[in-house]
């Protein structure tokens, strides 16, 4: 089958669903509201960045394949014959959408262009046209269980380092249990929060310690990365395959609660796709997020902090997957209010927040670094500057990588890190907060994903 036929067949299949996609093909009124709220179009108002134009790459072919008006009237009905030479444009365009879903919030019909983007990427994936870096991340993740390709040995070394750091900070042993069967909680962070930006994980470990629950949780030396790039390449099979490893591991460890880390898309896949979609049937465990879990303990007054450890102005960037897609918006704020002296909102925020510019996996693509810095991240940079904050908390490894690069590129002296990082620096263990030096420097250096 030629590529042309493959594309046409894949597009024609939309006629059978999913329902959302089929409707998006048929009812767009072409009002342009999506463009006025899109971070990419804001960064550079070029025609190819208009969400409706990007979606038309598929919509026009759908009209040609599936509608009477398109078959009979052709161009007059907005239909277009697919041309294989367009594929290059497809790759560029579908990998310039950050999948942030902001368009759906304001579109009068709630058309979620990220669904169309994902379909476009899925079609490209079947043709082997997924950008190399994305392909590689998926491959490595399926082979090693994490997107960094780290071995269990490397993981154990990182955990050892992390425990040492905490001993230096507090003068007591704060455990990070690994591979403990029968534990209550199974912590699944993004691998970056263990291998690179360790403070989010030390923060979680300290909460367990402060609550006297150090022996009730565990990590896995095989499954320590919730990141799942199948969501970004549009490949459902590898997304599910990757996800299955984690569910199997949770079952093997006989845990009661899967505690997702500061990774928006990982939480979204577990909590909003896998669980309600019953990919693996009924689960013997519940799924929650460390932000929700910690916030609950703060609300109940079980944790104490020395806010003076975080005296600089701090703002929170709502990762799209946590905010718009998972409704985890108040919890990180509860944590930051409790742990920082000067918390500032950026505007707009929560469900209306602007994307960091690195969504849908773009953050991992160094081939489009300048595009991310100049175009997709433009609005975010303006938003952050307006707050006057010196630390941006983002509960997402992809956001963090994009934001750290943004600060470097635009020569801003603003640190970027997680939410639990702020907690890790200020939580009282035996009445004392951590003794530590030079976090800012560390945060800037950790610019790997």
């Amino acid at each position: 089958m030629s590529n042309k036929e493959k594309v046409e067949n894949a597009v024609a299949a939309i006629n059978k669903g999913p329902k959302a996609l089929k409707l998006y093909m048929e009812i767009c009124a072409k009002c342009g509201t999506c463009a006025s709220v899109c971070p990419v179009y804001y960064g550079s108002p070029e025609k190819k960045f208009n969400p409706s134009v990007r979606s038309d790459l598929i919509r026009a072919v759908y009209k040609k394949q599936c509608t009477h008006s398109g078959k009979i009237l052709g161009k007059l009905a907005g239909a277009r014959e697919f041309d294989e030479r367009e594929l290059e444009q497809w790759v560029e365009d579908f990998y310039s959408c950050t999948g942030c879903r902001r368009c759906a919030t304001y579109c009068p019909f709630g058309i979620d262009n990220s669904v169309i983007t994902r379909k476009g990427r899925a079609i490209l994936n079947t043709l082997g046209l997924t950008p190399e870096v994305m392909k590689k991340v998926v491959e490595i993740s399926l082979k090693t269980g994490n997107t960094d390709g780290a071995s269990p040995k490397a993981f154990m070394a990182a955990i050892e380092f992390l425990e040492e750091e905490m001993r230096d900070e507090h003068g007591v042993d704060i455990k990070v249990p690994v591979d403990v069967e029968g534990a209550d909680y199974f912590y699944v962070p993004p691998s970056g929060d263990v291998l690179v930006n360790i403070e989010a994980t030390t923060g979680v470990a300290k909460v367990f310690h402060a609550l006297g629950m150090s022996d009730r949780w565990t990590m896995s030396s095989k499954c320590f990365d919730g990141a799942n790039y199948g969501l970004f390449t549009g490949d459902d099979n590898s997304m599910k395959e990757d996800n299955k490893m984690y569910v199997e591991e949770a079952k093997r460890l006989r845990i009661k609660t899967m505690l997702m880390g500061e990774c928006g898309h990982a939480h979204r896949i577990m909590k909003f796709m896998m669980e309600p979609g019953k990919w693996w049937g009924d689960l013997p465990f519940t799924i929650t997020n460390c932000l929700q879990w910690t916030a609950e303990h703060i609300r109940a007054g079980r944790l104490q902090f020395d806010k003076s450890k975080n005296s600089m102005p701090v703002t929170y960037h709502d990762p799209c997957n946590f905010g718009r897609s998972c409704n985890i918006v108040e919890e990180p704020r509860i944590i930051l209010h409790a742990t920082c002296m000067d918390f500032r909102e950026m505007h707009p925020n929560r469900g209306e927040n602007w994307c960091c510019g690195g969504g849908a996996g773009l953050s991992a693509m160094d081939t489009i670094h300048e595009f991310r810095m100049e175009v997709t991240g433009k609005k975010k940079m303006e938003q952050i500057r307006a707050t006057g904050a010196k630390y941006v908390a983002a509960a997402c490894s992809n956001c963090k990588r994009q934001l750290i690069q943004l600060m470097e590129y635009h020569k801003e002296d603003i640190a970027v890190g997680g939410v639990h990082d702020m907690l890790s620096r200020s939580i009282l263990i035996d009445g004392k907060a951590a003794e530590h030096v030079d976090y800012e420097h560390q945060a800037v250096e950790t610019s790997s994903q």
């Binding site: 959302a20 089929k22 048929e26 509608t67 009477h68 759906a104 579109c107 979620d112």
Partner: protein, 233 residues
């Protein structure tokens, strides 16, 4: 009766009604039967999906927050369109007049009210319709995504509004004619008003009605499907 009048006023209304009913029923059936694996909730989402979707369909709150200028034109345009649709019930049946008369209004008062409300509505509709058209040809982000179907739909509606306004503000048109015509259609013995303007207005409206199930104007039904997908918790 001329052949033209007979076709426009006697034959096409039936075809248009059938096309519309069958087309829309088919659309709604296919949409509601198409599978949707997985949820796609967009937060913040209300606990009351039906209320949230209705609010979106009636007041466009999402658009209000996203593009206030477009919201103003679009909302006034659609709200007036709904009002004019109700007004046309009076064109086709004397029922509305009888209800108003029963409430104690004189025939003159009813006519005056119709003239004022209907007249203003016609002008507002034309003005906002033209504004939407101007927006489409001048605003870059709308212009670059506009194709022939977008202009066709808008121009067609503007032409209908224009001919409707000409009937209201032009030489007097006795409404009793359209009521007789409506009754005659039901009994399959068409008595078509012999008025050029009326026939043009009716023909354009018939084209619009038949066009809806095959065009983007479907958004007026589709909105309930798409909005409930993202507003369902």
């Amino acid at each position: 009766m001329s052949t033209y009048a007979f076709i426009v006023g006697g034959v096409l209304p039936g075809i248009a009604a059938l096309t519309f009913i069958i087309g829309m029923t088919y659309r709604f059936r296919v949409w509601s039967r198409t599978v949707q694996p997985g949820k796609m909730t967009l937060f913040p989402a209300s606990d009351n999906t039906i209320k949230a979707v209705l609010a979106e369909a009636v007041f466009f709150p999402g658009l209000f927050r996203g593009d206030r200028v477009l919201w103003m034109f679009a909302w006034i345009f659609h709200a007036t369109l709904a009002l004019v649709f109700l007004g046309h019930l009076r064109v086709f049946t004397g029922l509305v007049d009888r209800i108003l008369a029963a409430m104690g209004l004189s025939a003159d008062a009813i006519a005056a009210m119709s003239n004022t409300v209907g007249g203003i509505a016609g002008v507002v509709l034309l003005a906002t319709g033209i504004m939407l058209l101007i927006r489409r040809v001048t605003l870059q982000r709308a212009k670059e995504i506009s194709g022939l179907p977008d202009f066709f739909a808008l121009l067609l509606i503007i032409a209908i509004i224009l001919t409707g306004n000409m009937m209201r503000f032009g030489p007097h048109f006795e409404l009793e004619q359209t009521r007789v015509w409506a009754r005659s259609l039901i009994t399959f013995s068409p008595a078509v008003p012999q008025n050029g303007l009326f026939l043009t207005h009716a023909l354009l409206a018939i084209v619009l009605i038949m066009y809806i199930p095959f065009s983007k104007i479907l958004h007026f039904g589709g909105i309930f499907f798409t909005q409930s997908l993202i507003k369902r918790r």
